[in-house]
């Protein structure tokens, strides 16, 4: 049977998309520069359908890409031309809320924000990517998503305790569980952040934590980003771990204030949002200390959120940063790089130099606690060649991050967008070692091929049958 016919048998015909105009909905994810048309999209309704679709692809030797909400910014869910897309957005059931044990079990299509809603108001799920209203937990697992609160609370990988995974040969394996620290290889840790190349998660167990008693938020303004950066270093070196520390430069402040009227001074060189959360007694003691550190570093003004409404307004400006950029530039390219926090002045100067050289403005938004920089390169694609030039410029920015001892990506992933830069960060031996893991999970390389790794690689001969251990031969131990 033809593969598409088989998918129709597995999913029912109306849930298999094959018409060209309908397929175009799936030709890109959040990164629109790349497009590819799949042969078909399977709108699966259950984990069992996922397994059967994956198995059918395996039998047919056809590659597939799992897709959640399609909000990714590195082309991780870009279809393989003539491959299959497994769309998980109908798998939206919350399977179990176990608050006694502070766990929740969900299907992969559940949105990030719905996880917190399901365990509220007493608990929440800390990783909070800006797209949290629409992005899916399955996608968060694939990308190891972060957010504004991960400096204190950690990343997706620190909250996933168990996954049911369909491997590319259709085998179903459970990695981890509700309990932590189970015996065996940490395959769960290896799977999270593997960008859909090791298999597809169909059932996800997450750890949730109590909502903090108090939250205190301020925004401090500075003449320079250096002064704001020094404030961050001083806060951290005094042993304070804020729930979030976010920095915006002047261009970002101007764009976002125009969009949100949040009241940031338009002449500030930098704005630093510091949010403390935790027990009331602790927040109160540390908040004064934070204010003092801000003043010591030359803050030209500090605005303390008096209530939840003002806190929301302060955050509104930060969260609108990407969208607001449209007001000052026809187009912009969102970059995602990481630097050791102390290298901020040096890397920002490098970006300034490049900005002059390329004649393009750059707005900087910074998860300052963990060194995750989001420079937005502004360009106008009405002018021929500008898009390519902006992309080249953005590439030099991540290379500067890597040169400063940082990383190509903090939360958006490698996908297709950055695979060509992987050799800047990893040696040939490192990449070959990654490939060993890939081959163990997916020797046929049907799961999201063409992502992460810079050049296609074969898995080669899979080593022969497992050899009997001397203990087994001696009858001392046996396998199970």
């Amino acid at each position: 049977m033809d593969l598409v016919d088989e998918l129709k048998t597995i999913c029912s015909p109306e849930r298999v998309v094959t018409r060209r105009h309908a397929l175009q909905t799936y030709e890109s994810d959040g990164l629109l520069q790349y497009r590819a048309l799949p042969r078909a999209v399977a709108l699966v309704d259950s984990a069992e359908e996922v397994r059967r679709v994956v198995r059918a692809c395996y039998e047919a030797g056809v590659p597939w890409v799992a897709r959640g909400s399609g909000t990714g910014l590195s082309g991780g869910a870009l279809p393989v031309e003539e491959g299959i897309v497994i769309a998980l957005s109908r798998l939206r059931k919350i399977l179990e809320v176990d608050l006694d044990n502070q766990r929740i079990v969900v299907e992969p299509g559940v949105t990030n924000v719905d996880v917190s809603a399901a365990v509220g108001p007493g608990h929440f799920y800390p990783p909070d990517p800006s797209s949290q209203i629409v992005c899916s937990i399955g996608g968060n697992i694939a990308e190891n998503s972060g957010g504004a609160h991960c400096f204190k609370y950690g990343f997706t990988t620190n909250y996933v305790t168990g996954l049911e995974v369909v491997l590319s040969d259709g085998d179903v394996v459970t990695l981890g569980g509700k309990e932590v620290d189970r015996p065996g290889y940490d395959l769960l840790g290896a799977f999270v952040g593997s960008e859909g190349t090791l298999g597809v998660a169909t059932k996800i167990t997450l750890r949730v934590v109590p909502v903090p008693e108090a939250t205190r938020t301020l925004v401090a303004y500075y003449q320079t980003t250096d002064a704001a950066g020094q404030t961050v270093s001083d806060i951290v070196s005094e042993g304070i771990v804020p729930g979030a520390i976010e920095m915006m430069d002047n261009l970002t402040i101007r764009a976002t204030d125009e969009a949100t009227h949040a009241g940031y001074p338009l002449d500030a060189g930098a704005a630093l949002i510091v949010e403390l959360d935790g027990p009331e007694s602790e927040c109160a003691a540390l908040f004064e200390q934070v204010e003092a550190i801000c003043m010591r570093n030359g803050a030209t003004g500090i605005r303390v959120a008096k209530d939840e409404a003002e806190r929301a307004l302060i955050w509104k400006a930060r969260k609108a940063a990407f969208a607001a950029m449209g007001r000052i530039s026809r187009n912009y390219y969102v970059q995602d790089g990481v630097i050791p926090r102390t290298k901020l002045p040096e890397v920002l100067r490098r970006i300034d130099d490049l900005s002059r050289e390329y004649g393009m403005k750059v707005a900087n938004v910074f998860h300052a606690g963990d060194g995750n920089l989001h420079p937005l390169v502004c360009y106008d694609d009405a002018q021929p060649g500008q898009a390519e030039k902006a992309e080249e410029f953005a590439g030099l920015i991540v290379q500067a991050c890597v040169d400063a001892g940082g990383s190509l990506t903090g939360e958006h992933g490698i996908g297709v967008d950055k695979k060509r830069y992987m050799p800047d960060m990893f040696s040939e031996a490192d990449l070959a070692t990654f490939q060993r893991l890939r081959c163990a999970f997916d020797a046929a390389q049907l799961a999201n091929p063409g992502k992460v790794m810079p050049t296609p690689r074969l898995c080669g001969e899979v080593p022969g049958p497992y050899r009997q251990h001397p203990l087994e031969r001696a009858g001392v131990a046996e396998r199970f």
């Binding site: 044990n101 459970t174 042993g239 939360e411 163990a440």
Partner: protein, 383 residues
Amino acid sequence: MSGHRPATLEEASEALRSASVEGASVRAFGAGTKIDWGRVAPDPDVEIRTDRLNRVVEYNHADMTAVLEAGLRLAAAQEMFAERGQMLALDPPLGDGLGATIGGIFSTADSGPLRHRYGAARDLVVGMTVVLADGTIARAGGKVIKNVAGYDLAKLFTGSFGTLGVIAEVVVRLHPLPATRVTARGSSDDPTALERGAMAVSHATLQAESLDVAWQDGRGSILARFAGAAADVQAQAAARLLAETALETSVAEDDESLWADQRDGQRSADGATLRLSGLQRDLARVLSAADRRRARVLGRAGAGAFWMKLPDAPEEELVQAVDDVRAELRDLPCVVRDAPRAVREKIDVWGEQPEALVRLSRKVKQHFDPDGLLNPGVFVGGI
């Protein structure tokens, strides 16, 4: 058994490469404090001693990261971090002479009471350099705490018992070392009351640094430790919560020895120690199961990791006791840690694993160590 003492990454690579050419089996050895863990297997042909790979390669105190060689003792690293008011938030038992090394701790994924707030070794490692069986030097991760480039092989190698490669360097994230710590304690002879007490603290908005349980001779305690600016206020609040669940409570500011006992009690020189992975709601039945066997329990009441120490007994009785505990607490993964060799030879120390998981684990092993030379036989599924 022949030995190598490489002083550099390149020497370690050469030692592994030459062993693989000869088809010799290899294991890494730090201080040897946990060398008996895992399945009983024949001694390997070659031992790579890490005692000369004991440098602090980088300590970026302002960025709160460090690059540590495998042979460095954790205790030595902590002294250095403490001078800057920082710590590696990992406090496993350190064994004889406080000898436990970075390589040994990460290879076994050992942890201690700080696991409650900061997570396990896997949650603190941000990068790693390993040497594979064929001598390949490979790096994964990076030196920054936030990084999603490439596969997270540092997590894969953490807890892999040297069966995929030799850990040569570990990059860790650091945390502030709290100036103040205060512990609230609630005691009872009723396991159910203790479980309720622990859950009252873990579900409250208090942010405990550690939340432990200790049980011995028919009586036990919940220990909740708070750190930082409002440690005392939080400990008082925790004590009130514990009192509400009918525990006898006290608050201790001089609490260091309490926590040393919690750490060191994870090891035992006699009897057998089982490590059970469970959930908060498993606490009472773990304590009851222990009590019926005159066993001691300590561990993480919030994170759900329990160490059950069965009293010393003749080897057949110990084997039977391990089987009985596993049968009674069937749904809790159970690993035998410290136990006499004769006992470890007669049981599967790792416990039963699902077949699909073992199959995948073997594939991983085959791809990283195709000739099966690295610490063969000690790991889950006979890997």
